[in-house]
Symmetry: C2
Subunit: 432 residues, 2 copies
Amino acid sequence: MSRKWLIENGTFAVLEPGRSVVKGYMLIENDLIKYVGESRPEIEEGTDTFDGRGLLFAPGLINTHGHAAMSLLRGYGDDMLLQNWLQEKMWPMEAKFTSRDVYWGTALSVVEMLKGGTTTFLDMYDHMDQVAKVADESGIRAVLMRGAIGLCPEDVQQQKLEEAIRFAQDWHGKADGRITTMMSPHSPYTCPPAFIEKFVQAAHDLDLPLHTHMSETTAEVQQNIEEYGLRPTMHLEKLGFFSRPSIIAHGVHLNDEEIEILARNNVAVSHNPGSNLKLASGVARVVDLQKAGVVVSLGTDGAASNNNLDMFEEIRLAALIHKGVSGDPTAVPAEEALKMGTIYGAKSVYLPNTGKLAEGMKADFIAMNTDQAHFIPHTDFISHMVYSAGPKDVEHVWVNGNQVVKHGSCLTIDEERVRREAQACFEGLLSR
Amino acid sequence: MSRKWLIENGTFAVLEPGRSVVKGYMLIENDLIKYVGESRPEIEEGTDTFDGRGLLFAPGLINTHGHAAMSLLRGYGDDMLLQNWLQEKMWPMEAKFTSRDVYWGTALSVVEMLKGGTTTFLDMYDHMDQVAKVADESGIRAVLMRGAIGLCPEDVQQQKLEEAIRFAQDWHGKADGRITTMMSPHSPYTCPPAFIEKFVQAAHDLDLPLHTHMSETTAEVQQNIEEYGLRPTMHLEKLGFFSRPSIIAHGVHLNDEEIEILARNNVAVSHNPGSNLKLASGVARVVDLQKAGVVVSLGTDGAASNNNLDMFEEIRLAALIHKGVSGDPTAVPAEEALKMGTIYGAKSVYLPNTGKLAEGMKADFIAMNTDQAHFIPHTDFISHMVYSAGPKDVEHVWVNGNQVVKHGSCLTIDEERVRREAQACFEGLLSR
């Protein structure tokens, strides 16, 4: 049965050239936006209406790189040298993660993301069936993949590959189409070339995109040159990685030639400014990537290196740091930063029918309360969303046409239980 | 009549060496903290108690540089070259500001600051009686000064100086001591040397500290060298500026000798990372300043160049950008960043009895709700406050022992009226 409803008298961030916002109406039918515009559309009698006054409607935010279950390690280690942090804090704890930990850690992250206006997230981790289960139950849209580290015997590698393939097949298109999958070798520095090639082949066989970490740190670039005689981009190109639709996370340390290769191959880059700053990895060449035509989107990375999953913060950081570092106040303008967190995110994770308020797009959107001091005066709502707003300004969230957050509370998840179980999981990890 | 009350079973961010937080009790008597500690203090029968469970108590945040009334220009001009922004957007509008605009613009900012956990703000602007009036009425603590630009005929200069002196005398120590004043020539590049010297003399006469903008941009440093043959720090030192307790805003472009001069003269620096990034001014040498012993605190600057007054964001930026730019993940650790926003702020604005939860300090503090996804797991509350939290996590705020925000709403200000009047003021400015 078809369900139609009309939002009246709202302000809509359509982000079109020369027309950032529209005051008017948005019609939704089931999982799709059917109309956005200034004039009231014809509707049948009995169509539900929703009062949009005092609300700014925007596309749901799209988080294009993360490891949701790592929220269990939020605040467990900060302000440390990268190798110490990994070896003393992260890896020993992650080695103990069970399916149950991944389920509740992911649930904790999904609560935070949904309440903060994120309607789609990409996740690369282990125990991925649990992540898919949370995505299915919570109503969020998710792009999921088993991230495989290949520093292990060949039989274990094979087992991980098979698990990644099995997961990708099982879940692609599930949960009313909200879940899609990718293939994902962890990174060039944790996966031997032959292992990466197997993932590329599997992605071809399954007709799926590829995702990996690439060029996050200078050390990792140096190691790649020493081991393989190539910088990571050329190395992955040689292994056929970019013959598939693909998205790489980080891309902090790239030379001009690498940027050209990424652009030529339509490789998307997930820029993770918060994590890159916190881990002191550096500042990615976002302006140069965009000039070259590379689609740059935004990711939070895991909460252990961020330490939240607030896409407003990533959007704002993207708008601020490239100005400060380049000395050019026109670098990454507000609207461009917001697009990085929405429509470019959709392109990056190969969901072309999300990320925008327009006819025919999936009804993934948020409503922000503009009757607040930091939204006054009502000068430029795109500026306010990028430079002033925060996750708690999100009043309502819809994914695939279904409301999942109402007046700031999750409708699909028992938030109190998730907090309690996640806390218990962390204490269990500490005591094991 | 003395009023005593006890917070029970709370978590308190005491930020002492080796002891960041304490679980226990805090006793408040009138405007002062009388006790913070693990064991329950002796209290007389009938003493009020307050249930601190699920709350993280922290010192109120201290915003050490801003122009509150500029919130009326929030989002009115962004992502522009500095000179265009000033000449086409800011200055023409600011020239039209009336007392009424300053009153409502300041009230708008104070609503945002109080709700976001800021209990003290420094303000340098015009029509300062209005700013003082808002501070008096709202219950916030304020360090106020008439900021004087000296690019005008001598009689106008004299008039501004006299106004600055009159204001500083009238309001110092007023509003139960919540208002203190300073003397403030706008900057070396907008004030002739003789004009600055008059402010220095007035500061001596009135026994008040001095505040000014300094070395925000490379252009301004270059201009100073061309006009006076000296970099701004040496120039101000020569004019006797640092013979008074003083705080300079920005200090982005400093050489080693300047840092040494600031340290030797105990000059505090208000670091404004958000504004410096947005205006593409650069990244201040905060780590070097701190190593040299300079007290570095945090300011938002005006909302027209930020574009909010969220001190959590400034604290987080301070913790993040210096790691990212230096390549050292141990630069500006979480606790140091939080101190920059609290106790170092207090030192910077010469209010030594604020900025810390300890016996004998003023009862300026906030309570944050820790029963939220982004505070889970309960690993390290200082980390969570710096890397995960936002302004709306502030549940309650007290200044000088009086509650001014309760469950996220202002008790002392009619928020709805402030939003309406501020919007009307902006529209009035546009139409005049």
